[in-house]
Amino acid sequence: MSLRALWIISPEKGEHASIRFSRRFATVELRAKRLAGSSYVAVPEDDCFLQLLLTELGLSGSKQPFVVKRDDCLYRPRSPAVELHVTGAGKGTLWPVLAISQAPLILACLPLVDASPEQRPPLSSLLSVSQGLSFLAGLQTFLLAPGSKQDGEGLVSRLALLPSVLLQVCPLGTPLELPLSGTLATPSAPTSAGIQKQPAWRTGLHRGRAVVNVSVAETVRSMQYGNRSRQDLWDVYGTVACKCEVEGVLPNVTVTLSLPPNGSPLQDILVHPCVTSLDSSVLTASSVDSCDGSAFSGPYKFPFSPPLEPFILCSYTSQVPVPPILGSYQLKEEESQLHVSVVLKLHESVKNSFEYCEAHLPFYNRDQMGVVDVKVSSGQLDVSKEKNLLVWALGQKFPKSREVTMEGKILFSGTAPGPSEPLCTGLTAYIKLYFKVPDTTLSGCSVDQHSVQVYSSAKPRIVTSRELHSKDYRIWNSTGTAPVSSGQMIL
């Protein structure tokens, strides 16, 4: 459950990668040495580690087309844990090195393997691995949290804080908690010496007006093919975010999610660890199960004691009968020009009031667009600066008919070739929709203001909100071949 070492790396352009921070935990290393006995492999120095890790992650030597060490076809799980082969003096295999990357950083650590050295235990039997993953993710959030300063500076100042943060959250290599993003956890006013124990994850006490904020945000993804042989796909998942400013050492709050009468049950519910208890029926519905009509469909009660900072109370997925916007996209190649025809229909159950709604039509592996002779029934059409993308801004509302169309011809007569994309060759092309609808959810899931219960002396102000937005919402050209996006649907 401990880490032997920790690294934070800037992988800038592969060859110029550098270690921005590293920490070795000497006492854990001592344990590693005792546990592994003669098969002990010491943690190499920073430069050596960096080279080994970059090679293993396939980030080094971008100029050479094939390097056996990096590109061997033999399959080994390379994520989330890689093995590094240390050469030279202290040679041997370093395992399991966990690495997670999110631009502009790679975070890595080496968890302690607390098992006998004879046989390598499976990754999933080492608690230190999941601990390491959580800890790295926590550090990542801390380092890359959106700050007020310019991105580069924010990172530099947070890296500078890291030694003192580690002293608090992981002084000797055993992570105790995650660093709090934003400010350093300076404990606020001393807590009253009551009988109730303060949760370790609650950094202080709130004083002042009580406010509870609950917002449900749903994301809809879709792949539409406009093809009888290929079923269209869409799915919805939601998160319930809370910010609770309430008094007390261990305040009690209950949030209830409810569905409309014939709504389909919320599935795959995951809850924040501050939820005190769960009814088993809440967890029963699963997206990988055959849905049965008698399933529990709410209300879903979540009693919890909130931390001070905003948090995700729970998340769920849902199966809704129709996609919010149904589209059809047809391209026809006519000599050097493309004939484009698009129809988008907004489903009647969805509120016709968008914060924004845009359709993007990118064209790859062609020359730049020359003459664009395209008419739209509603909204506004723009050609991107790079001349490889049509942007159709639909504004806040669909027309009364709830249907918009685009029709016309594009001549690719530009002087320079446009961008390439190996997926979209020939007539394989898509429209990507970006939209956000405030105050609605597709699953119908909602939190009623009056259903939020707070057990405290002062009556709190309760704010609830809902929103729906799209992600990966694509409509494929039905005259081309579209890539498979879910095997489950094919079989």
Binding site: S124, K197, Y237, L491
Partner: protein
């Protein structure tokens, strides 16, 4: 000053070995401690100064005595540091923990250990901050974590404090209760673990320890504390020990005390941060696993909360609990639920890719209640994972490559398992998926997608090599891909090699190579670019290694390539080399008899007409070999030996030319396992005492100025030459008995000397007398030093080796030189210089210093000592035994002057030097020579 430290500390932590080249660990440690003691230094910098001690305690304190001193020093710094610098004090506790536990000799505890333990316990109990400064609380938290780490390293260390820790946890209402709970849980786990070895007495002891009843005198410190040190078993996880070997503590049904402690810890677990909670639960799982009297159902109340969690470490703990308790805690419904949960989590849109991959690994190692296969095969699918359930994890082209391959692997296993039951659509899907990856790569994917394609192809072949229709089709598709992108040749060769190695019975690789040979030879040469051609030759070379494969097509292709009419590209050396590479493989091909004539034609044509002389020469050589040698001889001549091959053939150009395995091993520098030879000092000879010219015959003015003027030439008297014998070490290895072209490289361990020149030794034979090596040192400061030595040499078989020699130690007296006075000067002149210098040194203060060293010596012993050690440096007349005057010159420009005289009580060594830093070394030296 401060910024200098920031850089130095980060340089040290980044690469201690490089940093310590410029200084020594002793010096650096001393500097760190001095700065830490300095009251004026900024505390933020001081925090930083502790990090080398936290990260590399064993490097900075290489012996117990240094560790002891450092710890005492840090303890006193802690005692003196103002309480308001909480951060510094906390870091200091961490550093102390590291220094005290990481002493090189792990079995002995340092004497400062109990004091530090007391300090930690005192800090941990000090609740005076309750209503005061919250910052102080963090010091208490750090102290608890230090105690926790010490208990981990020395299991049982705190066993007598179990009750105290329980009480502290009970009282604490601030967030700190988590730290106490962690400590209590760990100590409890260790106590139970250690008591499992105690048979019946264990239960009584446990009761006593939990109740804090010390009168039941179980000497934990002796019994438990002793278990610490080198024994690693208490450190390993109990749950990970093989089934049936979990140590158990038989308490009988009555263990109320333990049960109540466990329930109260479990009840509060909700209040801990997820990371701590997961660890606590894991430790408690270990405890319950070791005490059969406690039913696992004690965890039941926590279970639902844990099953619904979004935290990876908490769900993981639940899985580990399941693997420890199986159906005594988890029903079959729970099991089914958990597996479905893992499938959901493995593809959940809100989780990060590493988490999802981790969950997929959990599926492959799912702890089933009743596992069917008891074999310890690495990956086994749970029975409940049906193709239907697993279909949620089918790979799609939108996946990142790690996810894609993990899913591909998982689903391959699923369909392989399902076998006949499954209607083949799953397998078809996987193959289609492989095809779409191929299409993407075909239309210009990045390097990552190319590698992913070949890995996926390998996985498919590995699992389904028996399904011919897919495998044949895959070969065809790969050939088509190759024709479009010949640069994939190394990937294809790699794929062929790996499938051949991992699936020795499968003919697939052979088929692929044959198909590649066919498509290459059928391509009209007019369409082949120079770039394609070099890849084609690589593939054909690999195909020529297949003994069973007919090589006629290859030869047709080769003769086409070298025909002038088709040769639209320049006939350069590289191309010729590529062609010769194929020919060389063909020369040793089993079917040589049937291809003899066309091969001879190709070689003859190359030898006569190729545009590069070198290629012509080698083609002629091959041609001659082919036409004059018998097959057996030819095979022997060209046989490429694997690693460590014999004799001179290694170096034949035919081998170098054609990338035989010999080439790589010849061009690689091999590393020796152990030291092969070393440098031994030749018996250290003092410089000869010169026969000084007597006074009268002296020429020239002998004074200090003339003497000093000589140093105008920077090279004057700036070097010391040491002589060594180069000899083999005792380890006998026949390969290294005769070594050639040895090049010795010396690297400095500090910056007191100028960089050293490499030295060459022509040869070293074990049976011959060792060669003498003269090493010239050029000091910047004349201090003792060590040198790292490495060497590159060649063995008889032509391989090049790199080896490391034992370090050389240069001691202080080896740097002494006699006064570099002009040779014409006699004793008087030297005495004048001595007098002049002595006067200067006594008068000046800056760099100069005088000192006195006394010891008891008989008069005769003194004469003998001077004779033995100082004769070459003696300035006074050796006959004048009342006072010896000795002048030691140390390059580049330091002097040590000694006036040695016997006084009534002792011998006095009056020392004067123009470089005060030399005093400690002189003192050590005098101590050494007068002691013997």
């Amino acid at each position: 000053m401060a910024s200098g430290w920031v850089e130095r500390v980060s340089a040290f932590c980044g690469s201690p070995s490089r940093f310590l080249c410029g200084t020594s660990s002793e010096v650096f440690l001393a500097e760190l401690l001095r700065e830490l003691r300095d009251d004026r230094a900024n505390y933020n910098v001081k925090v930083l100064l502790l990090s080398p001690l936290c990260e590399y305690p064993a490097l900075l304190c290489p012996s117990d005595s240094v560790g002891e001193e450092t710890a005492l020093e840090l303890m006193s710094i802690f005692a003196q540091s103002p309480p308001k610098f909480v951060h510094f004090r906390s870091q200091l506790l961490v550093a102390l923990t590291c220094v005290l536990t990481c002493s090189p000799d792990a079995s002995s505890r340092l004497r400062a250990f109990p004091d530090f333990l007391d300090l930690l316990l005192q800090l941990a109990q000090d609740t005076s901050d309750l209503h005061g400064d919250a910052a102080q609380r963090s010091l208490r938290a750090t102290a608890c974590d230090c105690l926790r780490e010490m208990e981990v390293l020395y299991p049982g260390l705190l066993s007598q404090r179990l009750e105290l820790l329980g009480a502290l946890r009970h009282q604490e209402t601030s967030r700190l209760h988590q730290a106490y709970a962690g400590l209590q849980t760990l100590v409890l786990r260790n106590v139970v673990y250690l008591l499992t070895g105690e048979k019946e007495a264990g239960a009584v002891h446990l009761k006593a320890l939990l109740g804090g009843n010390e009168s039941v005198g179980w000497e934990a410190d002796q019994n438990l504390g002793a278990a610490s040190g080198k024994n690693s078993t208490p450190l390993s996880s109990v749950i990970l020990t093989p089934m049936g070997t979990i140590p158990t503590l038989h308490t009988g049904p009555d263990c109320k005390e333990l049960r109540s402690v466990l329930s109260s810890l479990l009840e509060e677990s909700y209040l801990f941060t997820p990371l701590s909670q997961a660890e606590r639960l894991y430790r408690l799982t270990e405890v319950v696993a070791m005490v059969p009297a406690i039913p696992p159902t004690i965890f039941r109340a926590q279970l639902l909360r844990l099953l619904g969690t979004s935290e990876v470490s908490l769900l993981h703990t639940t899985l580990l609990m399941k693997s420890a308790f199986t159906d005594s805690l988890f029903s079959s419904e729970d099991e089914a639920f958990l597996l479905k949960r893992l499938v959901v989590l493995s593809q959940h849109p809100l989780l990060s890719a590493p988490e999802k991959l981790f969950y997929m690994d959990c599926i492959l190692h799912f702890p089933e209640n009743r596992p069917i296969s008891c074999g310890d095969s690495d990956e086994a699918l749970p029975v409940l994972l049906t193709p239907r359930l697993a279909s949620a994890l089918l790979p799609v082209v939108f996946n990142d490559s790690a996810t894609l391959l993990a899913r591909f692997n998982l689903l391959s296993l699923v369909y392989l398992e399902a076998g006949e039951e499954e209607d083949g659509r799953g397998l078809e899907y996987l193959y289609d998926h492989l095809t779409s990856l191929l299409r993407i790569v075909e239309s210009g994917g990045k390097r990552e997608s190319i590698v992913t394609l070949f890995r996926a192809a390998f996985l498919f072949l590995f699992h389904f090599h028996h399904v011919e229709r897919y495998c044949d089709n895959l070969s065809q598709q790969l050939c088509q891909l190759y024709l479009q992108h010949t640069r994939f040749a190394p990937h294809l060769i790699n794929l062929a090699n790996q499938t051949q190695e991992k699936l020795p019975d499968s003919p697939w690789a052979f088929g692929l190579l044959k198909a590649l040979q066919r498509v290459i030879s059928q391509t009209p040469l007019s369409q082949v670019t120079r770039h394609d051609l070099s890849w084609h030759l690589k593939v054909l070379t690999r195909a020529a290694e297949e003994g069973e494969m007919s090589q006629h097509a290859t030869l047709r292709f080769l003769s086409g390539v070298i025909t002038p009419s088709s040769l639209s590209w320049s006939a350069d050396w590289r191309l010729g080399n590529g062609i010769l590479g194929v020919c060389r493989r063909l020369l040793v091909h089993p079917s040589l008899d049937s291809i003899l004539i066309p091969l001879a034609d190709v070689l003859q044509h190359l030898a006569g007409h190729y545009g590069d002389t070198d290629i012509r020469d080698h083609a002629r050589l091959y041609y001659t070999l082919l036409t004059t040698l018998s097959r057996e001889k030819l095979a022997t001549v060209l046989a490429h030996h694997a690693e460590g091959g014999q004799q001179v053939k290694k170096r034949t150009l035919s081998c170098l030319m054609t990338e035989g395995e010999g080439l790589t091993s010849i061009l690689t520098i091999h590393e020796t396992e152990a030291a092969i030879f070393r440098l031994i000092e030749t018996h250290w000879e003092q410089p000869e005492a010169e026969d000084l010219i007597q006074d009268e015959t002296e020429r020239g003015e002998a004074d200090l100025e003339t003497y000093r003027a000589q140093f105008g030439d920077a090279a004057f008297a700036s070097q010391v030459t040491l002589k060594f014998l180069l000899t083999h070490t005792e380890t006998r290895d026949a390969r290294f008995d005769q070594l050639f072209s040895i090049r010795l490289h010396f690297s400095l361990t500090d910056d007191h000397y100028s960089e050293l020149q490499d030295l060459s030794v022509p040869c070293l034979f074990r049976e011959r007398p060792p060669p003498v090596v003269a090493l010239t040192l050029k000091p910047k400061q004349p201090y003792p030093t060590s040198l790292h030595v490495s060497a590159i040499f060649t063995t008889q078989d032509g391989l090049t080796w790199h080896t490391t020699l034992p370090d050389i130690h240069v001691c202080f007296q080896q740097i002494f030189l006699p006064l570099p006075a002009p040779s014409s000067w006699g004793r008087t002149g030297r005495q004048a210089v001595f007098a002049g210098l002595w006067e200067e040194i006594s008068g000046e203060t800056e760099e100069c210093a005088s000192s006195l060293f006394c010891c008891r010596l008989e008069e005769e012993a003194l004469s003998a000592l001077v004779e033995k050690h100082f004769l070459p440096f003696l300035v006074s007349d050796p006959a004048h035994k009342d006072q010896f005057r000795v002048l030691l010159f140390l390059p580049p420009q330091s002097h040590v002057l000694l006036k040695i005289s016997s006084e009534e009580d002792a011998v006095h060594f009056n020392i004067a030097t123009d470089s005060w830093q030399l005093l400690p070394h002189i003192n050590d030296y005098l101590l050494e020579i007068t002691a013997s």
